[in-house]
Point group: C2
Chain length 199, copies 2
């Protein structure tokens, strides 16, 4: 229940309305569960506002997130709410012709290039860059470049980045950062992932 | 990407299949953002599995979570995936006739009584008890009773509880606990909540 007054009114020359509608960069990081699910939960709010949503799944396998993907596809096609474009690295980015010749590093970089093009064109109002912290952490995509692109993005475009080990520069840039900390996980008790919960 | 092998195989006499399908209690607590959004993101997976979902919103005001509610209502009515029942304390529980005569403590307790009835009847396969940590923390609903009801619930019924200050007994009982820690929040920088992000 985070309703309430801000504790500080910044001296930034903006009106409350301007400040309220400032586009955000959100980061969900940490080793606990809930980073991606919270990003897709947020997408439900964006959908309800009628926003165009772009999801970029920066994972090798396309097996994960099928529940979220199917749900958001049904919502996007429902005629109510916003639209949803779902882009998957695991199955090959749809805009890339000869994906089979690229290694994972090239694929991740190509995903980021498309995000840059869409940000420049203001294609979406919410970007879910799922698991995007990994290619930055692994050095495949330069976090400093991501910071400068996000800082200078035009219009009102919100960006959510998920994944463990979000680089420090990204955390510094972000408006909202939540660390999902693991207190307890069923795998610790010998339980494997199960459908409906893990995917 | 939590795919992988469990680190321990417990000596509980269950097969892997039995253990895999054991119903879970999940807790999203902590002061950071993402507790409820992650619960509703999880509901997308449950919906995709065709599960009946029951949401119980233990909050005074009904203004929050409208994005999630509208999205899950559209999904539940889509004819694909599972069904969704959405129960709201803020607007008065639908099954209570004379809600206006109840104070918040009575309303919270009445919500829990309905959850108990539904668990006994195995009405749903996923229960989202949103903000339910608060009435327990405030002493309105006895956490020890919640523990015993959840521990003895029949069938395969998953339960997600969100809210700050989840009581220790609930954390002990739970199979999965994530603490959403606040690293940074826009309100700290004087920004108010905005549509599409906070609701």
């Amino acid at each position: 229940m985070p309703q309430g007054q801000p504790s500080v009114v910044p001296d930034d020359g903006l009106t409350t309305r301007q400040r309220r509608n400032r586009a955000l960069v959100l980061v969900h990081t940490g080793i606990g569960k809930g980073k991606s699910t919270a990003a897709f939960g947020l997408a439900l709010r964006a959908w309800n506002q009628g926003w165009p949503i772009g999801v970029f799944q920066f994972v090798k396998s396309a097996k994960w997130k099928v529940g979220e993907e199917n749900a958001l596809r049904v919502l996007g096609a429902s005629g109510e709410g916003g639209t949803v474009d779902w882009h998957k690295m695991g199955e090959g980015w749809s805009w890339v012709q000869r994906d089979g010749q690229m290694d994972n590093e090239e694929k991740a970089r190509e995903g980021w290039e498309q995000v840059k093009r869409d940000l420049a064109a203001e294609t979406y109002k919410l970007y879910v860059l799922d698991e995007f912290a990994y290619p930055m952490h692994w050095g495949w995509v330069d976090p400093d470049e991501v910071v400068s692109v996000l800082r200078d993005r035009p219009g009102t475009q919100h960006v959510v980045i998920t994944g463990r080990n979000a680089p420090g520069q990204i955390v510094d840039l972000a408006d909202l950062v939540t660390d999902m900390s693991k207190v307890k996980h069923p795998m610790d008790a010998g339980q494997k992932g199960q459908r409906g919960i893990e995917w």
